[in-house]
């Protein structure tokens, strides 16, 4: 995922790897905020019908980013839990995790979005959420199942001797997991996790079907209003591209942070 950013190091030569990584992550976050904040102003200069609808695209982009951040973070936590569940020694935990991954990966995301929005409120009447909330539930559950596979393989790839070393130092299971196993597993799982998060950003377009006006929804509204599909979708696609580029930039810096052997150059 670091293809575009691998050779790009705008930071002073003397800076350490951590410092460069932190700087890149910070700059990516700032860039994302600048994009969200400046999009309406920049698009206002675009020819019609985009110029007069700049704010709709900017609002849509903001919703898309919010969906991605919320369900992405929840999806990583779900992925860790389900990944741990898949290698658990207690059979019911393993079954539960395997069932979850099996169902989610074997059914279409669009069905999951519909199910979350139309069926879950009836099944869980005490949970009061809006479109955004149910959309996040569907997306988080979906990306969580894919993350589980990545985390599981990462956990299995950490050598047994690492756990033995930590345990022989008297560290309990919790510290062994948090300080020794998880950071190493996370590093191994990072490239597939990044793929999943970038896919999530694009797949979030499916929640436009439950009436959520994110980037795709905004473009489609404009198309139906103006009968001008080309500028509507070219604009939204361009904004997606911009967002995935910034996200890739950010995740490249995260990978770099874990790259203590300097393999990425």
């Amino acid at each position: 995922m670091s293809m575009a950013t691998a050779r790009f190091t705008p930071w002073p030569r003397g800076w350490s790897r951590e410092r460069r990584s932190t700087a890149t992550m910070a700059s990516a976050v700032v860039l994302m905020l600048v994009v969200l904040w400046g999009l309406a102003r920049a698009l206002a200069f675009a020819p019609e019908p985009i110029g007069s609808n700049a704010q709709a695209f900017a609002d849509g982009a903001r919703v898309t980013v919010e969906l991605t951040v919320v369900s992405g973070l929840a999806g990583v936590v779900l992925g860790i839990l389900a990944g741990l569940g898949k290698i658990a020694r207690v059979p019911p935990l393993r079954w539960l995790a395997e069932f979850y991954v099996w169902v989610i990966r074997g059914t279409p995301l669009l069905i999951q979005v519909f199910f979350a929005y139309f069926a879950l409120p009836a099944l869980l009447p005490f949970v009061k959420l809006e479109e955004f909330g149910w959309g996040c539930v569907a997306l988080a559950l979906n990306v969580g199942a894919y993350n589980a596979e990545a985390i599981r393989s990462g956990l299995l790839a950490v050598p047994k001797g690492q756990v033995e070393a930590a345990r022989s130092l008297g560290m309990n299971r919790w510290y062994t997991f948090i300080d020794v196993t998880l950071p190493q597993a996370f590093k191994i799982a990072l490239p597939p996790l990044v793929n999943n998060i970038v896919a999530l950003l694009k797949d979030s377009s499916l929640v436009s079907t439950i009436g959520l006006v994110e980037l795709t929804g905004a473009a489609d509204l404009l198309r139906s209003k103006t009968y001008l599909p080309i500028p509507s979708f070219v604009t939204s696609a361009s904004i997606y591209l911009l967002l995935t580029t910034v996200l890739t930039h950010f995740s490249g810096a995260v990978e770099r942070r874990f790259d203590i052997e300097d393999k990425l150059g």
Partner: protein, 263 residues
């Protein structure tokens, strides 16, 4: 080594007397599937003693070492370390492992942590030391194993010998009562063996209780107080080095020493 890490410094001189043993092993048996690797092993280790365990691979010597801190569980028999029963009780286990340091053949340093953080981690998590204290102790230990200048490097940037010395410092940071060494030089290039053995020698001289599984006969002879020879899951011989390497009656042992010496 000064008194703060060399537990048993004062006990060392008394260790030849029949004090109550630090570690007691009684009738321990262990099988992997149908293969019995430990057959009714009984022995004890005193504080301040350096016991060297030798024997062919597969003779059960590493397995015995690993049962002492429960990295392997024994099927039957009894092991008591410093008054702590070695069993499945988690409180026993964490207490036990905090008192028993272990050095592995493959070093097993934490690759994602700097040398300094490797040494500081367990004292901070288990002994609840504050960062400055843990760091001071870690730096002092790294100084002792000759790696003070490498504190901020990551393990991958060190040679095997340096990594193993960090691993020894990491164990010592927990101020263990006893140190277990599981073939600590077997994965090293020949020119790095000496630097690790030198650190171990220094540790033995400071009075640390050590149980060492090794093929280094020179070290066994020079540093060991006792040689335990393992053969097919049993302690075939338990003798002082001058007797073991000197007037050796047993043909198999003579053959083994000859093979290892040639290797």
């Amino acid at each position: 080594m000064t008194a703060d890490t060399g537990n048993g410094t004062d006990v060392a001189s008394e260790s030849k007397m029949p004090a109550s043993p630090l570690i007691t092993v009684e009738n321990v048996c262990k099988s992997f599937g149908s293969v019995q690797v430990l057959e009714d092993v009984s022995t004890h280790f005193n504080a301040g003693e350096v016991a060297v365990i030798i024997g062919a691979s597969g003779s059960g010597k590493s397995t015995l070492l690993r049962t002492l801190n429960r990295l392997e569980r024994h099927d039957s028999g009894r092991i008591v370390v410093d008054g702590i029963e070695v069993d499945d009780d988690h409180r026993h286990l964490d207490a036990l492992r905090a008192e028993v340091g272990m050095v592995f053949q493959q070093f097993n340093l934490f690759p994602h942590l700097s040398v300094l953080d490797n040494v500081m981690l367990a004292p901070r998590r288990v002994r609840k030391l504050a960062r400055p204290q843990a760091e001071a102790r870690a730096r002092e230990l790294l100084e002792r194993v000759g790696l003070a200048a490498h504190a901020h490097k990551y393990p991958f940037a060190l040679s095997g010998g340096q990594q193993q010395r960090v691993a020894i410092a990491r164990s010592l940071a927990m101020q263990p009562r006893v140190m277990l060494f599981d073939e600590p030089t077997s994965a090293l290039d020949p020119e790095m063996v000496k630097e690790v053995l030198d650190v171990m020698k220094q540790l033995a001289q400071a009075g640390m209780t050590m149980i060492v599984v090794t093929h280094e006969m020179g070290f066994a002879r020079e540093v060991g107080d006792r040689i335990l020879f393992f053969d097919r899951g049993r302690i075939a011989q338990d003798a002082a080095p001058e007797i073991f390497f000197g007037a050796q009656q047993d043909e198999r042992v003579r053959a083994f020493i000859g093979q290892v010496a040639r290797a």
